[in-house]
Amino acid sequence: MDTETFSLFAALLAVVAALGAIGVVVLRLISGRSPFATDVLGAVHAIRFPLAALVAAASMGGSLYFSEVAGFPPCRYCWWQRFAMYPLVVVLGVAAVSSNRWLPRLATAMATIGAGIAAYHYQLQRFPDQGSSCDATAPCTAIWVEELGFVTIPAMAFAGFAAILALIWAPRAVRRTAFVEDELVAQG
């Protein structure tokens, strides 16, 4: 797969992740009235941590492809987003196989910080006037990848963080799903 194809693949995945995040939140909002939404949320809830870990792993894989294979140098803000995203693979992966109550909170803090940095980085790309020169190797204002007219690398990162946050929190506190979780925990 060449860089161009991979970029489009990553961008489309990011769009799917963003739509998925929105979808889960919408389901949560209508779950009081829709038994189907409640059912879907329940099913998602059962695998929310593996799914969120998958999102983090895919984001990490994409990030590594862009820097190591495609040769795009990560800028300062890219690195800060990496600091937030890469450990999420482990945190969410462990959360998927344990019932530690702090792991989701830790993941939430990391994903929120990551999403904030990604949002700032994205607007920096949209309005590059904020920087008055380009670093010779890795300027944060430079846009290495832009697919579908708006999906740049920090936009993909933002979609990943948003999907992780939505997966962690949206299915929660739906009583039916909470019950299913209790059942699952009870079953070991």
Binding site: T5, L12, A43, F72, G131
Partner: protein
């Protein structure tokens, strides 16, 4: 004992109220497997779309040589450097390169014609631009306007050096960029794949300017958007830079 029963009962009652038919939670109408399958199918569809949709949009700008003949543009050239390489720019206000003889460089323009920047007794302003740098993309139209307006008159020669050229970065090829922005009337040197020309002049960031006086020595080096640096309208800012080349 009755307290225990009372503590237990509300939970059971609550659950049976919320999930009246949910005696066997695993028989939910949406099995987890469906979500997993959905995710897998989505990823497969996205992969197929990416392969199907990618790779068929290259802009065609026509490049002509001095005689008006259409030529295949070149994006990189071999650069030869004569003289000492300048140190990397740190602080323009206390730049040790000021007063040092500028290296002489030569290579090719994007239409294949030779370009030389050498000591010929004339003051020079050299603009180094990277095609993928958004600040350079902002500066080039201003530069074109300045050049089209006569630049610094006949006193100063203006050169453009396209550097940090790579097809892995956006806005490639630079030849098409220069054509679409209407850059003409000044020599355009295409740097090597290792940015030999930029290295020779100690480039630290883009856009980058080197001002050389009539003696062939460096009068000023700055990086960044000149209008921002000087807080002047573009034409006045470029004129201000050019003055360093003729001031003595």
């Amino acid at each position: 004992m009755s307290d225990d029963t009372a503590a237990k009962r509300p939970k059971t009652t609550f659950e049976s109220l919320v999930n009246p038919q949910d005696d066997e939670p695993k028989s939910s109408s949406v099995p987890v497997l469906a979500i997993v399958a959905g995710v897998v199918v989505l990823i497969a569809i996205v992969g197929a779309m990416a392969i199907f949709l990618s790779g068929d949009d290259d802009g065609d700008e026509v490049v002509t040589d001095a005689g008006g003949e259409v030529v295949d543009p070149i994006e990189l050239s071999e650069i030869t450097v004569d003289g000492d390489v300048l140190p990397r720019l740190e602080d323009p206000a206390s730049d040790p390169a000021i007063g040092m003889p500028a290296p002489e460089i030569s290579g090719l323009s994007y239409n294949g014609e030779p370009v030389e920047i050498f000591f010929d007794g004339r003051p020079k302003v050299i603009s180094f631009l990277a095609h993928w740098c958004p600040v350079c993309q902002e500066e080039l139209p201003q530069l074109v306007e300045w050049i089209d307006g006569g630049a610094a008159g006949d006193e100063v020669d203006v050169y453009v050096v396209a550097t940090a050229i790579t097809d892995e970065r956006p806005n490639f090829p630079p030849s098409a960029w220069f054509q679409s922005e209407g850059l003409s009337g000044v020599p355009v040197l295409m740097d090597s794949d290792t940015s030999t020309a930029a290295e020779a002049f100690g480039l630290n960031a883009f856009p980058y300017w080197v001002v050389i006086d009539a003696d062939g020595t460096v009068a000023l080096r700055v990086s960044g958007l000149v209008t921002d640096l000087l807080d002047l309208p573009p034409t006045e800012a470029f004129d201000f830079l050019a003055q360093f080349a003729v001031a003595e």
